[in-house]
Amino acid sequence: MRFLLLFSRQGKLRLQKWFTSMSDREKKKIIRDMTTMVLARQARSCNFLQWKDLKIIYKRYASLYFCLAVESQENELLALEIIHRYVELLDKYFGNVCELDIIFNFEKAYFILDEFLMGGEIQETSKQIVNRSIEASDMLQEVRFTDSPCVRREAGF
């Protein structure tokens, strides 16, 4: 995998994970290209695009577009499953996750992603283990959150 981007229907970036080293300028250009290309797609098109030598897999969940770029030998159908798994993890953590959760808790979205993927590869295929690791790490934080989900959006730094 080369990169994972999350952006809204208006093209606002909500998360960016780069799996290879790139300059800031290149990153900005890619973000622009991806948002333009994906947002221009018609409603019932297939979820795959060809862009340069990469395959772009995108899927819309509510108001967020998840956009994953993989190399040519990777499996696009599985990439859809990877995106879905990430959404499931977010959903389990936040409880009925919505875009606002990811906006206000972007650092948590990154932490969860970093327990699921690393260096462009999947590091853990079990949902429960990923969730348990995140919860355990959260417990270590000196600034505690309460367990109530709705407070997750408020407390913190």
Binding site: Q16, S21, K28, R44, T125
Partner: protein
């Protein structure tokens, strides 16, 4: 100093901004506050400030002044600080700036931390963005950690090792010992990352690949267990156990089985099992099937298995899910070369996909359709493809038109069908046809001698309907100029001949000249066509008038042509009729086909004026008249041909000199032919024209031809027509060589060819010894 505002508070505030300017103002204010807070070395709120900075960075604002703060957070003892610090490092730092190296020591310490979650943070950062220097420094630590029995850490270290190998491939050997019992793990996370590590090593080193082939039985067993095992809540996805691991194992099996009979055989059964037993109702099952198909096609599988794989793809084509159809088309495109017949069986389904609404699917279907065209199905396929061309989006038209021309050229069942197909493309997608097709089409039409009348009639009718599509207009103009006599005489065998007068034809051509829709190139074609008709039509006066009007045209090209044509009328009128029709035809034809550029057409036209004089001796035989001779001989010396040498060579192509052409070089798809003529008046000079053509599928660019001859000869190499030899014989590069051979020795030549082909530079030397004796005797 009040506490800096909380992260969520800032986010909420920024989101209330109604304009970009308002947002920018808020950000600037907050950045200033953060900067002064950093200056005060405030430990308590550093974490909060960096978090805010990361948010602003995501909105697109610069945040580099927080880089050092991230490093300080990483060095802190608090877990919250480390968490944000490492995240900040991954977002703000990158290996291009030396400051990232400051992380190395912190990471080293944290790799040995007592808390596994801290170790995890360090491993994650190293494994995501570690530079080569960092990887080199810390490879030892990573290798040490690989021995851990802690599965949480093991999977992270393994991926870290993969990253190290990607950054510093020489360190791969270091991790070999740790791979000893890699697959005996039960933990899926560790197993998955281990398979990734093995894959990375096998892809990079053939030795490693050979070494790990022995793991095939173990991998097969693991895969079997995954399929046969019952429901496992931890890894289940829609009834399938750990699809991510299954796919990864299939991919590794693909690499191990490729080119190896034994391994391929060992995995035959399991592949068949997966192919037949996997549930296909959901995407996840199809993802596994897809990977299985890819593996079957890549290894040395038995034919039964291959047919099974292609049939799976055929079923995919009928699936309601667009993604699956797309993936099937992509895979079939990959296999169409090797398993052509099997893919042909699904041709009708593939052709149906041309009508799909999805753009990505249409494109794949188009590419695959062209790959499936052969002599047997050409008529049916072309019908579908032409229908597609009519209705597809503009983005496809150019590629589709080119594909149609190529397929028609290869498999046309008859000349008439070929011409009809070309006509159809020109009339429906005429504006999208590539520029180089025009000369190719002209060449094709010229070669189909018996179809000339039919072709010119159809083209004329097409012009009456529509003059906006330039390639169509150009080809039509050329044909009318060439075969206008056939048009007016109403001789058409293939279809009902139309009644058209010379004036009507000239009306159409003049209409092209004045129309706003015509490009300058088209106008040039039209004017030349009108001129050529002066030897075919009787209404010469009208043509003279048109030509003289354009003698003062604003367009320089048109003006020059018109002036030269005028000269032909005035000075060489007596020769104009006798001027062998075929000379005009071939000169025009050669230039349009071979050189296709305005400048050379100009040269050609100058030649039209000069050539009659210089080649008078030869022509006289055709004319049978002698009175002209003295006049012409006197003017030989006073008429400097602007491009004398090359011009002579044109006529030389007609083999007026009688020396047969030869093939000097033919290798790797590059063919170089030599044609000869004697330069008048010096019989010791052999004028050789090289014609370079390219039968491969990629253009040869930066083409340079050099030649050397023995000492007794002198060589002059004139400039080439171009330095790109187009693919698939779509055109040739010509260049003139003049060889002075005063001692009449046997001509030998050494040639050197350099060009770029498919991205790599090619160079070749060759001796040319097979010159026909007439060229030097």
């Amino acid at each position: 100093m009040p506490a800096p505002i909380r992260l969520r508070e800032l986010i909420r505030t920024i989101r209330t901004a109604r304009t970009q300017a308002e947002e920018r103002e808020m950000i600037q204010k907050e950045c200033a506050a953060i900067r002064s807070s950093f200056r005060e070395e405030d430990n308590t709120y550093r974490c909060r400030n960096v978090a805010k900075l990361l948010y602003m960075h995501m909105l697109g604002y610069p945040a580099h002044f927080g880089q050092l703060e991230c490093l300080k957070l990483i060095a802190s003892q608090k877990f919250t600080d480390k968490r944000i610090g490492y995240l900040g490092a991954m977002l703000l730092l990158d290996e291009r700036q030396d400051v990232h190296l400051l992380m190395t020591n912190c990471i080293k310490n944290d790799l040995n931390h007592s808390t596994q979650y801290v170790q995890g943070l360090a491993l994650c950062t190293l494994g995501c963005m570690g530079s080569s220097e960092m990887c080199r420094d810390l490879a030892g630590e990573v290798e040490k950690l690989l021995k851990t029995s802690n599965s949480y850490l093991r999977k992270k270290v393994t991926l870290c090792a993969v990253h190290v190998i990607r950054k510093v491939p020489e360190l791969m050997e270091m991790f070999l010992p740790a791979t000893k019992n890699l697959l005996s793990e039960k933990n899926h996370g560790v197993l998955h990352t281990s398979v990734v590590l093995l894959t990375e090593m096998c892809e990079r080193s053939p030795d490693m690949l050979a070494h790990f082939r022995k793991l095939v039985p173990q991998l097969v067993r693991i895969l079997k267990n995954l399929i046969m095992s019952g429901y496992s809540p931890e890894h289940d996805v829609s009834g399938i156990s750990d699809p991510f691991l299954q796919v990864r194992i299939l991919r590794l099996l693909r690499i191990l089985g490729k080119g190896d009979d034994d391994s391929s055989e060992a995995m035959n059964d399991i592949l068949a099992q997966v192919a037949t037993n996997t549930e296909t109702s959901k995407n996840v099952g199809n993802a596994i099937l897809y990977e299985t198909v890819l593996t079957i096609m890549d290894i040395k599988s038995e034919s039964g298995l291959r047919v099974l794989a292609i049939n799976i793809l055929g079923r995919f084509l009928l699936n309601n899910d667009k993604n699956i159809r797309y993936v099937a088309l992509t895979s079939l495109l990959k296999t169409v070369q090797t398993d052509h017949n099997a893919v042909q069986r699904h041709r009708s389904t593939i052709v149906d996909c041309l009508k799909d609404l999805d753009v990505s699917i249409k494109r794949r279907a188009m590419e695959l359709s062209f790959a499936l065209v052969n002599g047997n199905n050409i008529r049916g396929m072309m019908k579908e493809l032409l229908y597609f061309l009519d209705s597809c989006d503009p983005e496809f038209k150019a590629d589709c038109a080119s594909g149609v021309f190529l397929a028609a050229e290869k498999y046309a069942p008859s000349k008439r069908w070929h011409i009809d197909t070309i006509m159809r493309v020109l009339t429906t997608a005429g504006s999208y046809v590539r520029d180089d097709s025009v000369p190719n089409l002209i060449q094709l039409i010229t070669n189909s001698v018996e179809m000339h009348a039919y072709t010119v009639q159809r083209l004329y009718k097409a012009l009456l309907d529509d003059i906006s599509q330039q390639p169509l207009v150009q080809v039509a103009s050329w044909c009318i100029g060439e075969y206008g006599d056939l048009l007016v005489s109403g001789q058409c065998e293939e279809e009902e001949p139309i009644q058209v007068t010379e004036d009507e034809v000239l009306d159409v051509l003049e209409g092209l000249l004045v129309s706003n829709l015509s490009t300058p190139v088209t106008r040039g074609y039209a004017l030349t066509a009108i001129m050529k008709l002066s030897t075919r039509f009787t209404s010469v006066n009208r043509i003279k008038k048109v030509v003289s009007i354009y003698g003062s045209s604003i367009d320089v090209e048109l003006q020059q042509r018109a002036v030269e044509y005028n000269a032909l009328f005035k000075k060489y009128d007596h020769m104009r009729n006798g001027f062998h029709l075929s000379l005009l035809m071939i000169i025009n034809f050669r230039f349009f086909v071979v050189l296709s550029s305005f400048k050379m057409v100009q040269v050609c036209l100058s030649c039209l004026c000069v050539v009659p004089i210089l080649q008078a001796n030869d022509l006289l035989d055709l004319l049978g008249g002698n009175d002209v001779v003295p006049v012409i001989q006197n003017t030989v010396s006073t008429k400097p041909a602007s491009a004398g040498g090359e011009l002579l060579d044109l006529l030389g192509d007609l083999s007026l000199s009688g020396i047969p052409p030869m093939t000097a070089y033919n290798k790797n798809g590059l063919k170089i032919d030599f044609t000869f003529e004697r330069a008048n008046p010096n019989p010791n000079i052999a004028v050789i024209t090289i014609h370079a053509s390219n039968s491969t599928e990629a253009d040869m660019t930066d083409f340079v031809f050099q030649a050397a001859v023995p000492k007794t000869f002198q060589l002059q190499l004139l400039s080439p027509s171009s330095n790109v030899v187009p693919a698939l014989n779509q055109g040739t590069v010509t260049q003139v060589i003049r060889v002075l051979n005063p001692q009449k020795q046997q001509l030998r030549m050494r040639i050197k060819l350099t060009y770029t082909h498919k991205g790599s530079a090619v160079q070749d030397l060759a001796e040319v010894n097979n010159f026909p004796p007439q060229s030097w005797q």
